[in-house]
Amino acid sequence: MTILHLAVLAPFLFAILVPFLFKYFRKVHTGWFVLFVPLILFIYFLSYISVTSDGQAVMQRMEWVPSLGINFDLYVDGLSLLFALLITGIGTLVILYSIFYLAGKEERLNHFYVYIMLFMGAMLGVVLSDNIIVLYVFWEITSISSSLLISYWYAKKASVYGAQKSMYITVFGGLSMLGGFSLLYVMAETFSIREMIGNADLILNHDLFLAAMILVLLGAFTKSAQFPFHIWLPDAMEAPTPVSAYLHSATMVKAGIYLVARLTPVFAGGAEWFWIITAAGIFTMAWGAISAVRQKDLKAILAFSTVSQLGMIMSLLGAGSAAFYYMDGDNALYTTAILAAVFHLINHATFKGSLFMVAGIIDHETGTRDIRKLGGLMTIMPITATISVIGLAAMAGLPPFNGFLSKELFFTGITNVAQYDMWNGDTIGMLLPVIAWIASIFTFAYSAIIFFRTFRGKFKPDMLPVKEVHEAPAGLLISPIVLVAAVLMISFFPNILAYSIIEPAMMSILPGILGEGSNFYVDIYHWHGINLELMMTLGAVIIGTIIYVTMNKWSKLGIYQNEQDIMTTVYDNGYDALIKGSQVLTRIQMTGMLRDYIVYMVIFIVLIMFYTMFRFEGFQISMENASEIGIFMYLILAALVITIMLLPRVNNRMTAIILAGFVGFLVAFIFTVFRAPDLALTQLMVETVSVILFMAVFYHLPNLTKDNIAPLTKAINIVVAGSAGLMVALVSMSAFTYGQTTPFDAISEYFIENSVELAGGYNMVNVVLVDFRGLDTMLELLVLGIAALGAISMIKLKVKEDDDV
């Protein structure tokens, strides 16, 4: 246990305190206590910059399940540090923001902050774990805490729907990922990512490579909302805005990006990895951007925008993976994409975080997020408007903001693919810049829609639920201002993070392809001269403007009016079909009749028994060693057979009891003959008590009547019962024969030798029961006791007339 381990566990430990803080310090907003956790962690992680900026990494080990190779090993390098800083840094701002956002007296803050802490710890665990099983555990905790946060206002139907949707999709992905991890373990024989990177050749040439890759990518794509799994993200917007800003734009949805980046050294180098990720990413980018234009809810626009931007980062990671094919780290042709991915990751966190907070402020102050009701807020909320202008300009990729810088790099990275002379880079690869360009047109368009529909136009006070609209309180504004300040900082000094953050992160995504001692040299600047990238940006701005200006025309189209995503329709219908299908299946099989259930069970047992016995050649019947048989035994058995055959025909309850008792006494007799006096005695006693019990029960029951069963059902019953009997007879014979033909030491010898010596008893059966296997007898008593208690409660429980039993 090191300080690093403690840092990951700190949010979990603090989560235990939160309910008490909430209960005993009601006067102080719980958020003020919580605020210290991410703040201290952020400062702590800052101290690692000096380590990682030299290209070094820290590994702290702690044993968890060493016998299975599962250890709580934490690994800090450039990539994980970048994420750790994002998680704690944005976390601090978001918690500060939430203190003012969730200021109502009715808010269940204890729940909220417990979930947030749970998420923060889990997310730190995801990005810092070196062991994939530990990573998986933390990964699922992020899914669960995300779901809990989405359903924070659980009284709303939409919240619950969104929470369920995100849960189903991300947990589906998580389980697929677990499968992929298991396959990775099979291939690399280790759970450690470090060691896997060392054995990358072993994995690359394995038969299971593709399967493992697809399964792991399913996990990454569901989490990072890539098409077609992106549908959970817009519905996740039902969560309180701080949660949307934190989980659903800055951190959790980037876990998939992190995973892809982290496993790039393991999987990259082949065409599959390159194309799956690039194609999924670029398609998601276009899909998200186009869908965003159709939304009317501010947060929904931002959600689809997040989907789009995540797709963009994903496609860059795919494009950059080609560097592993060429193993040429010094050539910017291949590494620019990775640089763009890391750079945009940071930029996106800053501007999208601030925009979500702005959306929250607008919702908070006006009571609505519908762009059809909003308008003219520029003069009423000048500070908010300024913040969003900067954020939106960065998102749209306008110079000189940081979004422009990373978008230029993105265009460079994606057009470079056309210059790859393999994997169809020069043919299909030509499509990528085109799709990217279309996506950025729409990115510009929705950015314009957000700004002009919210802050310009006519102020419509009569459509707003809140009467007095005014600027947000200072507390709400601090966090977005800090984020926008970061946007401006990066915009004007783009290389401020180059050495300390971006280069180390690139180093960890692309290890081992640089020459000894050399570094990625990152230099980002605004003016590249008039080139293709600049022209693309210009074109996007012009066409995007045209789209916005003509909005009144195309907004009448049906595709705009119906904003539901096609994939959501697919999901909803699939969900309904699944439930209906299971109901139908259940109804077919659950007939409510005991007879059918017994038939299922017996058929299943008989089939599986016969299969196993034939498969392993278990049937063997021999008459050797069979014991002698006396004439009286034939008589007993004949009596038994006759009684048994009579039983189903009896139509009188008294006769049935007598016959059943008779069978019991015959069995006791057989026990006597075969040298089991204890059994015979017990059987006699039990039979006597049972007969008395049956008399008591049957006295109250109606007399037996002839069973009125359809002939076909009756035939089936006879076949089922007969086959079960045949199976039992054959198994019994085979078991006996096997015992005779395969000599083995009976464990009973131990009891025979030690009964007197160890337990001082001459009756071995009793000694086994009370001494050698005393615990079994103890549990048997427990069963008997429970059964008797069950009988009492069944009788004493009086059901009221209208209750269903």
């Binding site: 001082g760 008893g761 009756n763 005393g774």
Partner: protein, 143 residues
């Protein structure tokens, strides 16, 4: 239950028989460690004796004559059986480890005493209790 007025002989003899059966059941219980018998058999036989008397005298009379709370008897039996195990744990042995030794007792001569007998007593009480509970729960149900 079945309660006929004119069965004088039956009523007299059933008491005698019940006493003999109970005595025999106690014998079976004690002899269990070294001969056929033990807690299960002894318990069931005692239960039969009580049940036979219930058959003859009816529940009202019997409940007055033998005012046992059978569910309690059950739980006491379970406690006794579990308790013997805990004693061995207290002395550092595994749970339910049994001990025995031979003692000289006046009249009976050399007698073997085992902790297993206490365990068996628990079994006996539980078996009597549960058998009686099952049957009486139905018999006494007045719905």
């Amino acid at each position: 239950m079945i309660n006929q007025p004119n069965d004088m002989m039956f009523r007299v003899f059933i008491r005698l028989i019940a006493i003999i059966v109970v005595t025999f059941s106690i014998y079976l219980f004690f002899s269990g460690h070294n001969a056929p018998g033990g807690g299960f058999i002894g318990g069931l036989m005692t239960a039969i004796a009580i049940l036979v008397m219930y058959l003859v005298f009816g529940t009202k009379t019997m409940n007055a004559a033998l005012p046992f709370n059978y569910p309690y008897m059950m739980s006491i039996g379970l406690l006794v059986a579990a308790g013997t195990g805990i004693i061995s744990v207290a002395f550092g042995y595994p749970y339910l480890k049994q001990f025995f030794d031979y003692f000289q007792i006046p009249i009976f001569g050399e007698v073997e005493l085992t902790t297993a007998l206490i365990f068996d007593l628990g079994v006996y009480l539980l078996v009597v209790g549960s058998a009686m509970t099952f049957i009486l729960s139905i018999v006494e149900d007045d719905s």
